[in-house]
Amino acid sequence: MKTPDQIKKIETALKKAGQEEKIFTPKGDWQQNLMREIRKTGSLKKLKQEKPGLENLAWRLGLSTFACSFFFCLLYLFNNGYLLENEIQNMLLTDTTGTVIFNLFGI
């Protein structure tokens, strides 16, 4: 273990190391690669005119509607015994929907 004075000295030296100005030179065509990618992204004028936000929203709404319908469809099938073997079916059917879901997930 070091003494507080020794810790202070090391801390000061490390602080200096963090403040040391470093020179960084990128490899060859870093700037060209970056500009190539930026050009691929497209002009900001064009991007401004399009409304990607709205498109995203439509996608999200569609996807969540689909997920919800799928879930309720599965729930209906489980509840009416279309998806399970007879024995499990009978056991599950005696329960309420809520308990069935809890049982299925082992809660």
Binding site: M1, K2, Q6, I7, K8, K9, I10, E11, T12, A13, L14, K15, K16, A17, G18, Q19, E20, E21, K22, F24, P26, K27, W30, Q31, N33, L34, M35, E37, I38, R39, T41, G42, S43, L44, K45, K46, L47, K48
Partner: protein
């Protein structure tokens, strides 16, 4: 070039880019790449600087339409750079295994030489060596990303609590508390080296 002229020039370039002249963005890259490199280099390993700077300029380009013309572009870019570096540290922290990293002989010699120094000023001089940077990275890697970032901005770069809080989107109290705890943690780690 004074600050106002520089800001005016930046805004001219930005307006040109927003009007559809994508190539004008290269002027901003040329002008600020070294500035961005120096910010990134303070927080991430050298090998990652190019990739992160690349991401910074890309996201700057994509968010350029959100840039408020009343503000300073250089400060806005610095904020993006610091936040990107912070994101990198968070991702890296989640991936890293808790292995005990040992210091090598050279680094141990450096530590001994610092301890042997007569004064704090002499110890400060020792911070210019490569070993110091290596040990600093080693020690900082043991902190949580938030603690590390706050310590780097507040303690090493000597930014004010207010500025640090603004850059990291935190409250000033949060920065003060985390900075204090991080300093204590840092001293504990140094003591165990």
């Amino acid at each position: 070039m004074d600050r106002q002229t520089e800001e005016f020039n930046d805004k001219e370039i930005i307006n040109s880019v927003l009007a559809g002249n994508t190539n004008a963005f290269e002027d901003l890259i040329k002008k600020y790449k070294n500035y961005v490199f120096s910010i990134v280099l303070k927080h991430v390993p050298k090998a990652e600087v190019e990739e992160i700077s690349h991401e910074i300029f890309l996201s700057t380009y994509n968010s350029l339409k959100n840039f408020r013309q009343t503000g300073n572009f250089k400060n806005w870019l610095a904020k993006i750079a610091v936040r990107r570096a912070y994101d990198y540290l968070r991702k890296k922290y989640l991936r890293q295994k808790n292995t005990l990293t040992l210091i090598d002989v050279k680094q141990e010699q450096w530590l001994e030489s610092v301890i042997a120094q007569q004064s704090i000023t002499q110890a400060q001089e020792a911070g210019k060596k490569e070993e110091a940077r290596e040990i600093l990275n080693l020690v900082l890697a043991k902190l949580k990303p938030k603690e590390r970032m706050i310590l780097e901005l507040n303690f090493i770069e000597e930014l004010s609590i207010k500025k640090t809080a603004k850059i990291l989107n935190l409250t000033e109290i949060n920065v003060k508390v985390t900075s204090f705890r991080a300093r204590k943690k840092l001293q504990k780690i140094i003591g165990q080296l």
